[in-house]
């Protein structure tokens, strides 16, 4: 995995935190304060699909169906892994 300090990963995690915060109507600090994203209020099945689709659009990647599982949505970092595996670290045009 890319080290956490790399600029691409920071851009990726920032966009994830921002997307989740925006969709749930909370601040990025609120997102980072919880141990897992599942503890965030309103992080339900609809929010999960919306978060994923917004990030896919933003990073122009497509996540394979069998990767859309609870483990991938546990934290901002696990979502970053999911998106980079789908090619997000290749950089955005």
């Amino acid at each position: 995995m890319t080290p956490a300090t790399s600029p691409t990963t920071t851009a990726l995690t920032d966009s994830i935190t921002g997307t989740v915060a925006d969709l749930l109507g909370i601040t990025p600090e609120d997102v980072l304060a919880e141990r897992t994203l599942f503890d965030l209020p309103g992080f339900d099945s609809v929010a999960i699909v919306s978060v994923l689709e917004r990030l896919e659009d933003h990073w122009r990647v497509e996540v394979a169906a069998d990767r859309i599982v609870p483990e991938s949505f546990e934290t901002v970092d696990s979502l970053a892994c999911l998106l980079s595996a789908a090619g997000a670290e290749g950089g955005r045009a």
Binding site: G25, I26, F38, G42, D44, S45, V46, V49, A65, P70
Partner: protein, 490 residues
């Protein structure tokens, strides 16, 4: 009348080693173990004066608690564990619960010897349980379900959709709903295996599909939102569900396009559309024989056994047969005696016609010459979102109570993927920082309402559009809101 839990205890006596229940925590119980836990708990809570609140989670302990209350002859009130504390407290107090059962310790119950005991037979009019649903004034209301009400549903469902000991039933809906009444009491009454879908797996269609495949689920009863998600962004079409014989759905309209897609993915599974509000449980049923044509509406079918469906026209007449259109009203053993301690609400919801007492559903329907019923819409502010029933007035009342809100209207906007998305239009009071108000209002809702009632978006407006009579025009409002609908809907 056979009480709804008697079938389960009879199966437990016949085949105690048969698997009864698995839950997401890896807790597997046999019929004998579940019956033992329920009996020990029943002895512990026996003598409680008043109702018992059961904090409801997708866990074996919640099922054991329901069975224990029925065994002890004490009505139970399921309270969703995920509700905000304030709403939980309201329900416990509103239902005057004498006891709250939370996180039942199954190991302790299984380790306690069980004295054989005589259990009283409930009378048909005794309360079995009370289910809370959204109310139009900002407070949820309790729907009383008697033993006769529950037994009428279970008896019909046992005939219409029978289960066998070899069947495996996935329990997808939260246990504080009326959908799992089928899973729990028809399923356990038949000796079938129940599999509580873990809350996390229920959130992820691919994980949910895997769960159905691995547990070799034969029967699934769920809301259309959850079923259509099973074919969206999953590998269901390639992987299939070879064991799944029967799917039942209810709670909202299954749009024809996603239903057709779902049915094509599962060509060997039989499907039925069930309809009924929480006040009656299922009152009509329609077997969906083939994928429906696009842009049609699937029927809700014909009345179930022991139920009379009428269509009430504006002049107060109720049509019982032949082609007609009007508000769908229901009479029969399934109909609730009313709302807990809300005689005025009960009176408004019931209408007498001829010898019968009908519950007014608020749903508008049309009956064809052959008796087939189709829904047309609502005559009030009740909407369905993600399979949940929501009174828009409940959300409006919560938002109106915020000090920075002058006026508010909540609208349900059809969404191609879901049934409806909720949008709140708020006119702020006095000078406020707009960018801070929206998150504050969302938080305000989250602290007071179930998550599915929190608006997807809050729009701040200078004023609300009105009709000629000065009422808020929700139609004009939907047009005025800046809503990203993805693919444009009708």
């Amino acid at each position: 009348m056979t009480a709804i839990h008697h079938g389960f205890f009879a199966r437990a006596a016949e085949a105690p080693d048969q698997p009864a229940l698995t839950d997401g925590d890896g807790r597997d119980l046999t019929y004998g173990e579940l019956a033992h836990a329920a009996r020990v708990l029943a002895a512990e809570i026996g003598g409680t004066c008043g109702r018992i609140a059961v904090v409801s989670r997708k866990r074996a302990g919640t099922v054991a608690a329901f069975l224990a209350c029925l065994t002890a002859g004490i009505p139970y009130v399921p309270v969703d564990a995920a509700l905000p504390e304030e709403r939980k407290r309201f329900i416990v107090e509103d239902a005057s619960c004498a006891l709250v059962l939370d996180d039942v310790d199954l190991d302790a119950l299984l380790g306690t010897p069980c004295e054989p005991a005589e259990w009283s037979e409930p009378a048909p009019g005794d309360e079995a349980y009370v289910l809370y649903t959204s109310g139009s004034t900002g407070a949820p209301k309790g729907v009383v379900i008697t033993h006769a009400n529950a037994a009428a549903f279970v008896a019909w469902a046992e005939r219409a959709f029978p289960l066998r000991p070899s069947d495996q039933v996935a329990v997808h809906a939260p246990l504080h709903f009326d959908l799992p009444v089928y899973d729990l009491y028809v399923g356990l009454g038949a000796g079938a295996g129940l599999h509580l879908v873990p809350e996390r797996a229920a959130l992820f269609p691919q994980a949910f599909g895997q769960f159905l495949r691995e547990r070799r689920i034969t029967h699934l009863y769920a809301v259309p939102t959850a079923l259509s998600a099973l074919v969206r962004r999953t590998k269901l079409r390639e992987e299939g569900l070879p064991d799944l014989r029967r799917v039942l759905f209810a709670g909202e309209e299954f749009r024809t396009a996603p239903l057709a897609e779902f049915m094509r993915a599962l060509p060997h599974t039989r499907m039925a559309n069930l309809y009924g509000p929480i006040e009656t449980n299922v009152v009509t049923s329609h077997e969906v024989e083939s994928p429906p044509e696009p842009d049609t509406r699937i029927p809700i079918g014909s009345p179930v056994d022991g139920t009379t469906i009428g269509l009430r026209t504006e002049d107060g007449q109720i049509s019982l047969e032949g082609a007609a259109e009007g508000e769908l009203v229901v009479a029969g053993d399934c109909v609730t005696p009313g709302y807990l301690d809300r005689p005025e609400l009960t009176e408004a919801a019931m209408v007498h016609f001829g010898q019968l007492r009908f519950y007014r559903t608020g749903d508008l329907a049309r009956r064809a010459e052959d008796g087939t019923l189709r829904l047309l819409g609502r005559n009030d502010g009740l909407v369905k979102t993600r399979g949940y029933r929501v009174e828009l007035g409940d959300i409006e009342a919560q938002l109106a109570a915020h000090p920075d809100v002058d006026s508010v209207a909540v609208v349900a906007v059809p969404d191609p993927a879901l049934t409806n998305e909720l949008h709140a239009a708020v006119v702020p009071r006095g000078p406020v920082r707009h960018e801070a108000l929206v998150p504050a209002l969302l938080r305000h809702c989250r602290d007071r309402l179930p998550h599915y009632m929190v608006p997807a978006r809050v729009h701040l407006l200078d004023g609300l559009p009105t009709t000629g009579t000065g009422k808020t025009s929700k139609r004009a409002l939907i047009g005025a809101l800046d809503i990203d609908r993805g693919a444009e809907t009708r």
